[in-house]
Symmetry: C2
Subunit: 78 residues, 2 copies
Amino acid sequence: MKVRVHVSLKPGVLDPQGRAVHHALEGLGFAGVHEVRVGRTIELEADEGTSDALLTEMCEKLLANTVIENYRIERVAA
Amino acid sequence: MKVRVHVSLKPGVLDPQGRAVHHALEGLGFAGVHEVRVGRTIELEADEGTSDALLTEMCEKLLANTVIENYRIERVAA
């Protein structure tokens, strides 16, 4: 079973990496971009029947820093 | 207009970050995970009517390293 965990910075949290990408886009001449934020996606190949509760626990304990990050769990159809 | 660019390592490319996450999950007692791969998501707030061609150019030139990474452009409904 494939599971994707999307982790993104909470609104209001400064994102220097996003800033840097934005700045680089402008430097390359791409003018129509107003904001850039960078998150990460963790793709897990997990046992069939892995419960939502277990996935949530993985996120809370390791995959996301819940002080500054939000996460979203997505089960991907095989 | 919000655009998400999903960047992931191509199959076969070694992913040490994914390995580390997998190892850490096992260390925490999560046994049912077989593989972990880590990618990133770049969220752009762009002008309405930014073309697919322009977004593709951003990916090719800056956002993804196309030698080792795949990317997927997703327009997010407002």
